[in-house]
Symmetry: D2
């Protein structure tokens, strides 16, 4: 253990440098071409076997994909900002996943997942904000790593470095899974569908920075993820002059309005917590024209997948019925999905045991009522349904502002705690 | 009469040139700086006494004014496109009205109103469209004279020319009123409020092109205007994360949706026809955020002012109650208004008599159930309430496409019929 | 003419006695067994050929029929109150129509329609109310002739008496049509469907008492009837305990509530006036049970049959869609219907001419914008579609209170004006 | 302990006889005159000090009181069915509470609460239903003890009997509280307000028959009661003829419908489970009349009092806003209320310890997520806020059908387990 920790301490600055590089060039879901190409290059250098692009991303299971125009622009920008052209070519058009595989002999297959995408948030340009003050602020306007995924990616590379240099200390097969488009819970489903997680026995995921818990604290597991689904809904009606022929219109605006109200009145479910939100509604053109178009962005949640499924089923019936009510047509596009999920107790116990041995960490048991959503659960439930075990770990950090805020920043040394923890857990299975 | 007609025939090409100049540089409501400055310049040249800008536009009665940013850009563009700087200065910031006064001795004060604004419509670039084919298509992107107001303005200048050159043939005082922002029924109210119509005994207005009636046909009067009001409504609520604290939000999106549905269920009124439309609704930002903002564009109509007032009163109560229902605040901005209106029979009879004498015109009596809206009614009812008479005339024209369509065009020679008709009506009062 | 008038003056007391007999024993729609049996008896006595019961009422076209229990009780009561058992037997179970036919030689077939039903209104027991003061007040609790149909029936018998005694003065065939269930516009359709009106060339109907017009005034025709349809709607859902399993319910109460709101927001129609009303809504049982049942009573109207048909079509789609929205089943029962209608100008002119000759009448031309509904229009449009002419006449009367009010009463001598007018119109066709 | 149990075994038939007497004469909330008068008579006979009627029921805190007419009829029926006239007089008009006090020397004041009211349920007349088969079925039509309160009352008298005959074995003051109107959570609040519970240190309540648990099982405590509130809402509008003057109505039916929909869309609350139900809606009169009246029966629930309070607050705002929306007036009447509640762990432990000593009982610890409502919580939270301890016990029983069902029946010998358990708990405080 000591030698591993020593090794990790040696690479601290490298990990920080990686993080700052990713932080400067944030890329939102399905456009992580620069990020993923540099990850691939590094993994290859470290001797990992690579799977990339369409090998790890199932085309038609990608959710919430941007338009081809946006994808093309992202590709150009990435090349401009230092993406490795060799890998970029395999990643383009929204196939921005990378998996690095290291075979260390007999033993279980251990997966570790790191998400890479940034957010459409404008980063604060004030001297109290460290990335601005120290010169590694986002160079991409209106985009920012405001959720710490830059750190997650750097942690992944740090672990790769340790595993590579001390390969003999580990057993089994290690799969480092670098995932696109976690924001909006859009990406995990397509990696699962590619089959790349089919052989995994042990799956670990993590998140940096828990608002209430500062640097040094660790939750050894998380359960009580909310299942969630995201949809875009579009109604199409028939326009008509509202003054001269009101009866000829098929009013998509009213269809949207009625749908919003009806969605918010789906009954409570006795078997758990449910949520619904219509976050955006946009309908109509001119004041005197009966609107022939409405667009809505909605999401459902449930404290269990069953409850979320109930909400989704109700949503479908409501949209269909309201469309009939207003004689309009509709399209519902699923743009995100994550299951509910529970960390395996056995694995949580291992995490807890290892964490307790690490200096300076304050370890807590499994957080049972997380109440948030993460598409790691797509991978988690898949591994569990194959008989494997999975665990999601929260690493506390002193953060500068809430997640998704333009002033968000985390304590960089907390990345090293994560590198240590995951590396040592992996070593456990080598005993 | 013959000499007047001869004079008018001589200026036909000038009137057409004016129309084509205005057509090439369309300016929407409150930005008619080029148009109005050239009108002012011409009127001055012709010997009219000028009233302009704040003299004829009451500041706080202007409705649906664009932002200062838009006004500034319009001013710059106008100067660039040949506006007369002397007048442009008085017209800028949304005071784009001009009145030309010609005193011809004892007699009644006769007002004639011409509207000058264009529409946010993209003009068709096809050879079948005459303005494109003959090279006078709009030079301002996404703006077009698609309602014939370019023709109305040219008619006004044509009349000014006739009156000026044959002043001795007329009696009384002639006021040529060039009005901004008729589209959206936004401008007339502010000209009325300025007092410039207070002394008018006889008021005439007209429109070119009646879909069902071709060139040569004339309706000697129009009654049965629908009163109409236009409003922008804004709700402000409180955002909250829809997953973690749904109870903390104050949902402006649902307030907007409920308002849309409620407005469309205002009961029918036994004393006439009513209309309501929510033409545009836009609310919320992110999918998982309870919306803290909603914006709506609506209009009401009534076959009488009483019915429209009922609709407006109901609208106010609905918005206020729904705001209370969702604990949000609201603002209602009146952005347009026109009264119902009726042409005076006595004046219609005069119009009909004069028109019948003109060669080539097919004259019809008053159109009683117009069913449309025009803010000329604001001027009409004001003059009538002062004991004057008013009449609105429809001049048929073979039009190429419906009004407000990108392929709209009228028959230019019909402008000359209008110049003749109005000039000869004015002469009638000189007898 | 004079001899006819003399004859009519002789029977005035008889007509009044008839009216008072009917007034004392009011019977609501489809239960007019006593009334119709006495009408039949009298017509037979006077030498009319009789058609009765199922001969003139098409079974499955009856609308808004009461329950068998109510029909049975009405039959027993009628026998008890002096119904003629011979005819009562043919009228029972809701076949309470009678037609009397008198053949007077060559000539057109002239129909006259009289409605016989009373209302569920409690008659006032105060000395200022003549029926109470003079002892002919309703003997049937909570039922009253509060719309003058007792007078209409008496007028019909008065005319029968005149025609019978002076048969040689008339030509053609006279059909006196005594109709049940005009209130709620429920009965006319079934008489039309029986075929009894198929051969009619001239059809006359009338109503006593126009609020604004007193005794002696006559409208020679009525047009502008509103088409109307009446429906009962029932939703059936699934109950569930609202506390323990809210998601298992299928909420019929909310389906009813949403339907009510949606019906009231059917858009205005550009081709005429429309009306909608949900007059009654009743849903649910216990406070903590999700309601599995809702019942609604609604009506639509239109200033034309086209507009009313639009409202009915919208209603059907709304009910069907809302049922799908709440996963409940529904039934829609049509319980009343009347078309729009227009009196024939030619016939109105004849009525006007005859009325003008009658002493003491103030005659007005056709009332064009009636704005009310009457199922006489079902007969009217049927006759007109067969090439015949129809006219509906309003006979003014000094009434004591509005129609449908417990203090309603009309001036009995106005019945004699009606007898005279209709008799003389009939005679006209004998010339 | 053995002597107490022996004594209790001796009175088994007496307790059963009491229960059967109460079962035959069920009385719903606020009308328990026969029941309470017989309880009072027995307590007096046994030497208890009596508090009765207005002494233990605070007038204006009674909720959901029936009409005076219903109260009068109940009084007459009770006298007829064997009520003791002396006590009946004090109980009449809805003051049907009785408290018996036995002072046994120094020690804490121990309260035990028994509810006495029946339900508006029709009892099954089939031989498989024991009360029918053995001849003690309800003699009051459409009323039934279908929730076991007859058993609770008999248990209370059984305990009174034991305490009285072995008074020296107990210490402190015993208060046996016989409460009216538990159904609909209407009665407890008024007993608390009377002050009769102010001095209680230890409060016990119980319920017979837990669906999932059969005879012999006991939950030593219950927590997780849902707070609940019951309201009747009435809207008053203005009627108008829907055809002739739709704009004059103030539509109470639509106000009711909109309120129902809005109530069902109150947002979820992040701090717990919430429920809402509009169980009954009744509005309007005639089909063609705009409804001037609507009546609704609703209830709210919350897994905590905070959540329920949120629901109630939202309900008030919604009703007020919708009333403004439709220009109608409203009244909200609170007809039932119960707080959330938690049994005190210390007291649960005592109950568990005593129960474990009793032969034939299978004892379970505190049931934490009860999920139902009981107005015992009103007493519980009052005692706790005064520094006392409270506990609610569930006594399992093999029941014949679910509670509130016409075939409900419990195993009578389970009453004796309750008598034993409560008596021995009381004895515990005498040590």
């Amino acid at each position: 253990m000591k030698d591993i920790i020593k090794k990790i301490n040696e690479i601290e600055q490298t990990v920080i440098d990686w993080r700052r590089s990713f932080h400067q060039y944030p890329e939102v879901g399905w456009t992580e071409i620069r990020t993923a190409s540099l990850v691939a290059k590094e993994l290859k250098t470290l001797g990992f076997k690579l799977m990339i692009g369409r090998e790890v991303i199932e085309d038609n299971k990608r959710m919430g994909l941007p338009s081809q125009e946006v994808l093309d622009a992202a590709y150009d920008r990435a090349l401009h900002q230092g993406a490795d052209p060799e890998f970029a070519d395999k990643l383009k058009d929204g196939f921005t996943g990378v998996v690095g595989i290291l075979e260390c002999g007999d033993g279980p297959t251990i997966g570790m997942r790191f998400d890479m995408d940034a957010l459409p948030v404008s980063e604060e340009h004030v001297s109290s904000h460290k990335p601005f003050d120290q010169g590694f602020i986002s160079k991409n306007a209106r985009l920012m790593h405001a959720c710490g995924h830059d750190g997650h990616t750097a942690i992944g590379l740090g672990i790769a470095s340790v595993l590579s240099s001390m390969q003999s200390r580990f057993m089994g097969t290690i799969k480092l899974i670098f995932q696109p488009a976690e924001e909006g819970v859009r990406g995990a489903k397509s990696m699962v569908a590619s089959g790349v997680l089919d052989d995994i026995d042990i799956l670990l995921g993590l998140h940096l920075g828990i608002k209430e818990e500062g640097s040094g604290s660790v939750y050894a597991g998380v359960s009580g993820f909310y299942a969630t689904s995201k949809f875009d809904i579009c109604f199409k009606g028939v326009s008509s002059h509202a003054g001269t022929h009101p009866e000829n219109g098929r009013n998509a605006l009213l269809a949207g309005a009625a749908t919003a109200l009806q969605l918010h009145s789906i009954p409570r479910h006795s078997s758990g917590i449910s949520r619904i939100n219509v976050g955006r509604l946009e309908a109509g053109t001119g004041r005197n024209i009966i609107a022939d178009q409405a667009f809505m962005m909605i999401e459902t949640r449930g404290s269990t997948s069953e409850v979320n499924d109930f909400m989704v089923k109700e949503m479908h019936r409501i949209v269909e019925s309201i469309a009939a009510l207003y004689q309009v047509t509709y399209e519902i596009e699923a743009v995100g999905h994550a299951e509910g999920g529970t960390s395996d107790e056995e694995l949580v116990n291992i995490v807890e045991k290892v964490a307790t041995q690490l200096e300076g960490l304050s370890v807590k048991p499994c957080l049972d009522d997380f109440g948030g959503s993460e598409d790691f659960t797509e991978m988690m439930t898949h591994v569990q349904s194959n008989g494997g075990k999975a665990c999601y770990i929260l690493m506390g950090s002193d953060i500068a502002a809430p997640h998704h805020n333009g002033a968000f920043d985390f304590e960089e040394r907390d990345m090293m705690n994560a590198v240590k923890l995951l590396s040592l857990i992996a070593e456990t299975f080598g005993d």
